[in-house]
């Protein structure tokens, strides 16, 4: 594991030889003196999927942002540990984060967006790979179209194409199904399950009921 990171080579879920786990250690989150959740402890190991559920304002997005390291928790800590040596691994080399705002620039084309995001996140990138990924999310022929002229669902698909570009193993996705049509939803569900079965780890929020889930699937209800 260490060697792979030092070599600066991208880490592919399929190449990860050992299993790892994300440890949530008594997390608490307080926003504007309102307690969203308290003493949340959870062990997630590779190959599993966690769906965070709860009504609006229950702290789903806050939890995901804490896990991604964008927000400090009021208390507690998040650690990514390899199960063999229980050494702590740097989270940001293993993480693919997609917030509700996906980081797609409207003024850039689909291909320009992806090629920038890939070089930012050290995912390998060649034009043909990006075109393949765009084709995989059903955007063949839209590679050179500026994103402002795409529909909301198509813009979401541009962001989702990153999941097809040799991605890191830990995916944290905030409402990834937003604006997708039924066929897109099914395809994304299949892709998430495939990723988990290949040893990846998926944490997501969605209001939509998942029809397809991997063997190791847990839900977490907030705000109850």
């Amino acid at each position: 594991m260490e060697q792979i990171i030092h070599a600066g080579k991208p880490i592919n879920a399929c190449e990860v030889p050992i299993s790892y786990g994300l440890k949530l250690d008594t997390l608490s989150c307080e926003r504007d003196s309102r307690l969203l959740f308290e003493h949340l402890s959870l062990d997630l190991s590779s190959g599993s999927m966690l769906q965070v559920m709860g009504p609006n304002g229950s702290g789903k997005t806050s939890l995901l942002r804490i896990l991604a390291g964008l927000m400090p928790p009021s208390e507690g800590a998040v650690r990514l540990e390899s199960n063999s040596g229980s050494s702590v691994m740097p989270l940001n080399q293993m993480l693919l984060w997609m917030g509700y705002a996906t980081g797609i620039k409207m003024l850039l084309t689909a291909e320009e967006n992806l090629s920038w995001l890939c070089s930012l996140h050290q995912q390998p990138q060649s034009q043909s790979q990006i075109w393949q990924a765009l084709a995989a999310v059903g955007l063949r022929g839209f590679e050179d179209v500026p994103c402002y002229s795409l529909s909301a669902g198509q813009q979401r698909r541009v962001a989702l194409a990153r999941l097809y570009l040799n991605p890191p193993p830990l995916w944290i996705l905030d409402e990834p199904f937003t604006a997708l049509d039924p066929q897109g939803v099914t395809q994304l569900e299949q892709h998430l399950v495939r990723h988990c079965e290949a040893g990846g780890l998926v944490i997501l929020t969605t209001h939509h009921t998942l029809t397809l889930t991997p063997a190791r699937f847990t839900t977490l209800a907030l705000g109850s």
């Binding site: 926003r31 504007d32 003196s33 400090p72």
Partner: protein
């Protein structure tokens, strides 16, 4: 070195208790120093042979200016402590100290202007010290405005900390550049604080008053911080208990 005492003190509850014990003593000290200093300065100290009695305003002006500058330094130190060690008490100190510093800055400017009228014959001159003090006031206002614009309390504290640190790095550069600008544009003839020879009977009350102002700052800061901690920790049981005893004592 053992730092546990520091962390124990920085917990809101123990800070509230310890500061409650210090506060009466500090207030007493402040009153004694302030009364001695003012009486000495305004009644017993001799009048200046050039400026007569109007010079006595420096007994307010100089301590206020001292305090305004050191409070800004304190803001940056508190900000650094808050950012590096994530101590919430430092955030509270930063945000509660900023308005006091701004008022001291304003006081120094106003007394400077009042002193300027009989001495220079005008309310305002672009003297290097006065100009730097005015810029310092704007730096304070920036910190206060930023703190009020951000609604999330912790983000506001951390943003103010960053701004205070950037400001304190800039402050010597600002001071130096303003001084340079000033000497180039109008050679200073008469400075407010640089007396070539100030006799001891004028000097001592000034020193006492500077100390009194620092004590005053400490008292006001502790009171503001205690109030803020009560507000922030309002949900906790120890605050509810503390409030009950406070209300009970008054009733």
């Amino acid at each position: 070195m053992n730092w546990t005492w520091f962390h124990r003190l920085s917990a809101p509850k123990s800070f509230y208790e310890v500061s409650g014990r210090w506060l009466p003593w500090l207030t007493g000290l402040m009153l004694v120093l302030m009364l001695t200093g003012l009486l000495w300065a305004l009644v017993f100290a001799p009048a200046d042979y050039q400026q007569g009695n109007s010079f006595r305003i420096i007994y307010i002006h100089v301590p206020a200016a001292f305090l305004a500058q050191s409070v800004y330094l304190m803001l940056a130190v508190a900000g650094l402590v808050g950012v590096v060690w994530k101590i919430k008490l430092a955030d509270v100190a930063l945000q509660q100290a900023a308005p006091i510093g701004a008022w001291m800055c304003a006081l120094a400017l106003i007394t400077g202007a009042i002193w300027g009228k009989p001495t220079w014959g005008t309310w305002w001159v672009w003297d290097a010290r006065l100009t730097s003090m005015l810029i310092l006031l704007f730096l304070y206002i920036g910190i206060i405005a930023l703190g009020q614009a951000i609604s999330n309390r912790e983000s506001a504290a951390r943003a103010c900390a960053v701004l205070a640190i950037v400001g304190v790095v800039n402050l010597p550069i600002i001071k130096y550049s303003v001084e340079w600008w000033n000497t180039l544009h109008q050679p200073a003839t008469f400075k407010l604080t640089e007396k070539p020879s100030m006799p001891a009977e004028m000097w001592w009350p000034l020193l006492i008053l500077v100390l009194a102002f620092y004590c005053f700052f400490a008292v006001v800061l502790l009171m503001r911080m205690r109030l803020e901690i009560l507000k922030r920790e309002a949900r906790t049981s120890w605050v509810q208990a503390a409030l009950k005893t406070l209300v009970g004592n008054n009733a």
